[in-house]
Symmetry: C2
Subunit: 232 residues, 2 copies
């Protein structure tokens, strides 16, 4: 059994299911790393099983404390199933770069990923539901909630929100240059990292935008991960 380095914080105690076994130095179980990866993203993949068939459905998510939330139409098959309390896996992955080694074998990917196992529950209390939807909007676009037309009772009813406690969770991170075989460093092969990142282009106004409505401050020079960076 591969050891976990003694200097690693274990806020989320690894289980047989979440412990990173191969390349265990890439595994992290501390709250700070897990939260930072979650807060830098917008889309997760929710995995669940119906009639023995697994599905991985992409959906937006947000975090509050040690709770992970996602939402959608009350008619969503994914939410309908997940809300019954079946086991789910939520994975968030950031692609950070191509790692170009001198051999194909040692070529790799730089990434940050979090995998959370558990069971999600309906957020059925209407106030709690509204509050967490506000947290979602404010996370992405701070200040926008107050500008929006208020949510109606019918809309709130048509929206399903589920929340999953972060308990059985691990992060996996690869950073840095390639690690080649010692004798390969002498080869005339370019090696290094091609960094990749998700960026925002300038906002495109709705063709039907009312004249005179200015681009809000929170959409200027938008960086998807700036909130994570501001926190950490």
């Amino acid at each position: 059994m591969a050891a976990i380095a003694p200097d690693k914080k274990l806020d989320f105690p690894p289980t047989e299911r979440t412990r990173v076994k191969r390349l265990h130095e890439r595994g992290h179980y501390d709250r700070e790393t897990v939260h930072a990866i979650l807060d830098a993203g917008l889309i997760c993949h929710v995995s669940y099983v119906i009639d023995g068939q697994p599905y991985a459905t992409p959906t937006s998510y947000w975090r509050e404390g040690d709770m992970l939330y996602w939402h959608g139409s009350s008619a969503s098959r994914m939410l309908e199933n997940v809300a019954t309390g079946i086991p789910v896996c939520v994975t968030v992955t950031h692609l950070d770069g191509l790692v170009l080694a001198r051999s194909g074998f040692h070529s790799s990917i730089n990434y940050r990923a979090v995998m959370a196992l558990g069971v999600a529950r309906l957020v059925s209390d209407e106030t709690a539901k509204l509050n967490t939807l506000r947290a979602f909007v404010e996370r992405l676009t701070p200040g926008r909630w107050a500008e929006l037309r208020p949510v109606t009772a019918r809309e709130l009813k048509a929206t399903t929100v589920v929340g999953m406690p972060l308990k059985e969770v691990s992060a996996k991170v690869r950073t840095g240059p390639p690690k080649d075989d010692a004798e390969d460093y002498a080869l005339d092969v370019w090696a290094g990292v091609l960094p990749l990142r998700q960026v925002a282009a300038p906002a495109i106004p709705d063709p039907k935008l009312k004249a005179g409505v200015a681009l809000p401050r929170y959409l200027q020079d938008y960086a998807l991960d700036r909130y994570a960076r501001a926190k950490g």
Copy 2:
């Protein structure tokens, strides 16, 4: 049962499991759309079940014809399980933008996603394995395979490659501006799309790069989706 628009090509005939039920206008089942989405990406989420628990594991992938491939260490738990022929779901998702409507309810995400259900098989023939690994490298970095130190027999043995036929597949795509309630267009709320995309930063040479090795042409002005665009 929601109808599929009669103008939609059904190269991958939708099943009860892949037909896009809600917002069915977002569903696509034609080869061109499915291939273009797959070819624009690098990371998929492979979903599979062990002891009733679903997992969604991020991994790199590539496509050749109507086959989807992914690979890794022969010690990988995901590959070890998937190669036994258990049902899997492979999802590829591109986040294309935030759709900012005048209400929270109509706010959305622009995205392109492919979900493929099926069973993967080991690529056990050594020549076939080597050929498809070359296709993977050449897809991302055309011309690099010939520059790399050749794969050794030991490395080939330590690498597991699995392939899954694209059969039960659907794509789901949202594009364009928000769709607001008619009366909301009069509101003084900014609405539109904030486009997001994955871009490459300038390549970072390995600190141990041999002096005099120039940056290859295929890494200059790198665009992750340029091969998809060149094809389509």
